[in-house]
Structure formats: C-alpha cells, structure tokens
Amino acid sequence: MIEASGLRKEYSSLRGSDVVAVDGIDLVVEGPGVHGFLGPNGSGKTTTIRCLLGLVRPSAGSVRVLGEEISRLHTVIGRVGALVETPKFFPTFTGRKNLLMLGHLSGISASRIDEVLDIVGLRERGGDSFKSYSLGMKQRLAVGATLLKDPDLIILDEPANGLDPAGIVEMRRLIRRLADDGKTIFVSSHQLGEVQLTCDVLTIVSRGQVIRSGSVADVVASVGNRHVRITIEDPAGAEQVLRSAGYAARRDIDDTISVEIDPREAARLTEMLAGTGRYLQALEPVQGSLEDAFLELTESNEGGV
C-alpha cells in the first residue's frame, strides 16, 4: 500500500542551519491491518506522512502510494483518507458543513456525511461551529473526514492526540474495526501503549531514521524480554558468581537479582549456580513491553547527543 525508499527531507532555515527531518527512511506498508509508525516527538513522522501525501516535496528518495508515484497521486487519492497532525477545518463553519464541503469534491452524498458523523459520534454536534468543539471532538471530526471516501488506505497522524481516556479507547476500537473490515491503517504515534494494543506491524523511527521494523511481537522480542529475575538464598554470593562469569547481574532492593540474558538460555544460570552449591528458589522472565523496547531503541539511537 505504501512504499518509501531512501526518503529524505531537509528543511533549510533562513538562519542557515538545516534541519534533517527525515533521514533516509525505508518503509513498506502492506495491507490490510494496522501498521504503527512509532517515534518520539520530532522524529520525522509527520514529515514522512506529508511526503507520502505529496504535501511536502522530498529532498531525496522515492515514494509510492497504492502503487503510484506522487506525480500520479491524484489517480489513487480517492482511495486514501488522511489526517495530518492537527485537525484543520474552517473555524466558523459547522462540523457538518466542513465535511459537506469536502464531500462535494468527490460527490459524496449527504447521507454518507451523517453516517460518518455517526461513526465518530458527532451526529448531535454536527450543526455546531467547528471552533466550538473540544480538542477531542475536533480530532474525531478529522478522523471522520478521512472516512468520507470509504478509503482502502487510511493514514492517521497521532489520532489519539487530545482525546480523553474514553476517547482513546474509542479510537482504538474504531481503528481495529476498520482493520477488520479489510482496510489498511497507517497510524503514527509517540504513545507506545497505544500502538502495542492496536497494531499488527510496527515501524519505529528516531531522528528521521527507521531503527526497527516488523511485527509487534518480533520487535518486542528483538529488544525487550532479555532479563530474568532470580530469587536465591545468598543473593550477594550469586551476584558475585554471575558477574565473574561475565553476566550483567544486578541485585535489586528486594534482594532478587536481575540478569541480562535471553530467557531461552536461562537454564545455563541454574546450572552454573547449582555448580557452586546455590539453588534457585525462583526464576522468571521479566515481562518486556514495547515501552521498554521503544525506550531502549530510541535511547541508544539518541546516544552520544
């Protein structure tokens, strides 16, 4: 659905300092399903999305959306719905009128507008001016706008921004439902819990570069889950033994020891400690989360700055 290779975007400011917003991103989004695009603030997610949608001219690299280059984007734009950064509508027009104006462009019927307002839960407030909406309502109207065309590919840039917890859950359900209907959703976020719960596939970016990509399980496995926690009678002695064997072992305040090791190889610890006459009372893998993975990845990428 989306392919980008070597995508790069530099912004040159008048003061002469260039900002590299996107620094050679390769990206493949295959549908259907939810593809998360994860990265801390300022990592180039929005800029990448703008390049995909022809809003910003890449400095280098190539982009294809639904198989078409940017110059031919108009041939497929009817199958793409997108929300970039913040919701953008005419403040004095009502939510409904704003959607109607967009709908006119593709001959979308008024009944579809109401349908969409229903989907995003704005049916009752559709007649109020956009500027009277709360941030969450604005966000939902913007998501509604992306659905008007009943698109195959939906690009959402931080759709959870400004939503309250209930709204976030609602948004998550909506995204899942769309994916279950066979749509492809490319959703960016800097909030990890979000992505972990909704995404099938994940691309993590930091400082304009892709640092990991794959299924959510693979990404987590590739970084997180490398610790086990052991409980033992003589923690000080055990820590000594493990350290001298070259493991990164650390005694925690509860006198358990966490050791950096792939849990699948944890049997070796048991063996080694047993060799010194120490027997484990318990060994458990530390449940890794995407959060850990994400922090680890992005921190190592930011390292040295």
């Binding site: 949608l53 809003l55 910003v56 005419f90």
Partner: protein, 371 residues
C-alpha cells in the same frame, strides 16, 4: 466542476465578503441620502437670475469709473482704448463702460442648478472628455480614439461631480484586493488547504480553480455594488432632479462601465491572491498593492516617466473609464501627457500585469511545501 463549486461556496461563505459588501452598501446608501437631501426638484429661472446678477455687477463697475476721483484712471483707459475723452459725452462714456469695459456675461452668474441630473453624473458623455486636449502641439499626437466630438448633445449636468461611476469602480478595486489577498491566506492559516490537497492533489488545478472562482465571484460582487449605487442615484434623480437626457446610449454607457469595472474587479482579485501566495502573507499583499496604488503616480512623476503608459492602475482606470492611456512626452521643453493607447489596449495591459503576477504565483504554489 466540483472543485469550482466548492470554491464558489467558500467565497460566498466568507464573512469578509459580506462584511465588505455591507459596509460599501451602507456607505453608498448614505451617499445617496446625502445627494437626495442636497438637491431640489425645483428648477428656478436660472437665466433671469443670472441676468439680474450680471446687470447688478455691471452697474457697480460703471459707478466705479464714473466717480470723479478716478480721473487719472479714465485718462489711462482712454489712452489704452484709443479714443478722445473730451469729444465723448458722459452718456457715450457710460454706454462704452456698460457694453465694453464693465460688461458682465450673465453666463458667469448662473447659479448652480439644484436639480440632480442623472445623465452626466453617473457616466460622462464623450464631449466632457474633449477637455483633455493634449494634441494641440503636433499632428502625430492625435487625441484619443474615444474623442468623438459632436457625436451627441452634451448631457445637461452642471453639477459638481460628473462621471462618478467609473471613479467609484476604481475605488471598489480595493474590495477585490482585500478579498483576493485574504482568500488563500485564510486557508493557509486554517490549514484547510492541506485538506483540499488531500482530496485533489493536482495543485495547478486547485490553484486555477481558485483563480476562476475568485475572478467570477469578485466580478459579480463589483458589478452588484456598482449596480446598487446606480439604482440609488437614478432613484434620487427621478425624485430630486432630471432624467430627461437619459437615453439608450446612457444605459449602454452605464452597463459597459459596470461590465468593465467588474472585469477589472475580477482581475484584481487574481492579482491580489497571486501576490499573497508569493508573499505568503495577506497583509503584505494588501499593503503592497494598495501602497503602489497610492504612490505610483508620484513615483512615475519623479523617477519613471516612461512607466506611465504601462503602469497597472493607470491602465486599469483608463479601461474602466473607456478613456485613453497617456504617456509622458517632452514637447518643446515641457513634459506633456499625450495619447499612448486606447482603452482596449489599456485593458490588455491590465490583463498582462495580472498574468505576470499569476504565473510566478502558480510556480510557487506548485512547489511549496504545505506544513
């Protein structure tokens, strides 16, 4: 077509459009009321009044010269006019004073006609233009194409203002500039341009549809506002004045003046929108265009006389007035303004200016990052 419809809806949904239209309509209504109040339907016997006034002035002059204290002046006069004072009777001298030296033409004493004459006030007749005669020096500086001496009877206005419709049309260009300069500016600010491009990524199409919608709407708005003023003043003329000289030709002049004003109103929308795209700023675009409007003739006079015949506003107003564009020419040591080209060419020059702004704006718009 859908895009055009959307842009038309947006144009007429903008508050600035209605606000400006409202202000202009209120101001012209107030002006209409003022004209109504300051004119009267009664046509006094102007000729008799003028004759009495002239006679009174003549007698005063005669009395002055009859006074013995002015003997020396009398001799001076006699020398100047070459007659023998001594051989003249007093009566003969009085007669001379009355018919010659002191004669006051009643024409000079005509009081202003209190009636409002529709015919000249809205659009001037050709003959009114014949006053600008730059051509006396040399044959090849012929006067305007539109110099059609004697084509028609002079319409009968002798009011202070003559031919105001084209002048008002020129000032209505400010409206087109305001609306045009803010048309995309508002959209960049609200970010809705981004939405639009997510529905129609072909930017050339997007921009030129905006130009088209703005041109049509701005022209319609200008025409409507000029028509409003015409209707008001015509009604005033029927109630407080005279419409006897109104003929088919008058309505053709009115219609074509409004038509040309509307055309230029549309063009100035495109020009202002173009400048705002290049300058990325509504206020800068308005300032630039109206600033040039204010100072262009000073700049031309002081620094660039060659520019006069090619300058945007001079050509736009010439086109609206169906008058000729002039240029500066040094004739026998003096700068004179002489005929440069007719009003149709002036219209084309205006179009060329607008195109010269719209094309770079298009290039900028196609290439610019939207973020």
């Amino acid at each position: 077509m859908r895009l055009l419809r959307t842009e038309l809806i947006r144009f007429w949904s903008r508050r600035i459009v209605w606000a400006v239209a409202l202000v202009v309509m209120v101001v012209s209504t107030v002006a209409g009321i003022a004209v109504f109040a300051s004119h009267s339907n009664e046509a006094p016997d102007n000729e008799a009044l003028a004759r009495t006034e002239a006679e009174r002035a003549t007698e005063e002059c005669v009395r002055f010269f009859r006074n013995e204290e002015f003997d020396s002046d009398r001799e001076q006069i006699a020398r100047d006019f070459g007659f023998d004072l001594d051989s003249m009777t007093d009566a003969e001298f009085d007669e001379f004073l009355r018919t010659d030296l002191c004669y006051q033409d009643p024409q000079w004493f005509r009081p202003e006609d209190p009636r409002f004459f529709a015919a000249e006030i809205l659009v001037e007749s050709y003959e009114a233009r014949q006053m600008t005669d730059w051509s006396s020096e040399r044959e090849d500086y012929s006067v305007a194409d539109t110099y059609r001496f004697g084509v028609r009877e002079i319409r009968q206005a002798n009011d202070g203002f003559i031919g105001i419709l084209p002048v008002v049309a020129t000032f209505y260009l400010v409206i087109a500039v305001l609306i045009g300069a803010s048309f995309v500016g508002g959209e960049y600010r609200a970010g809705t341009l981004e939405n639009l491009l997510l529905w129609e990524p072909r930017r050339l199409r997007v921009l030129w549809t905006k130009f088209a919608a703005g041109f049509l709407s701005s022209a319609a708005l200008t025409a409507a506002l000029l028509a409003w003023l015409t209707v008001l003043l015509y009604l005033v003329a029927t109630q407080r004045g005279d419409t006897s000289a109104v003929d088919g030709r008058f309505w053709i002049d009115i219609g074509s003046t409004i038509g040309r004003g509307a055309l230029v109103g549309g063009l100035f929308f495109v020009a202002a929108m173009s400048v705002s795209i290049i300058a990325r700023n509504t206020a800068a675009a308005v300032g630039l265009i109206l600033g040039w409007f204010a100072i262009s003739n000073i700049v031309i006079e002081l620094a660039a006389k060659w520019l006069r015949q090619w300058e945007l506003f001079n050509n736009a107003t010439a086109f609206i007035r169906e008058a000729d564009a002039v240029r500066n020419e040094r004739i026998q040591g003096f700068w004179q303004t002489v005929y440069a080209h007719g009003y149709v060419e002036a219209g084309l020059v205006t179009v060329m200016w607008v195109a010269a702004l719209a094309l770079p704006a298009t290039l900028v718009f196609i290439r610019r990052d939207i973020d």
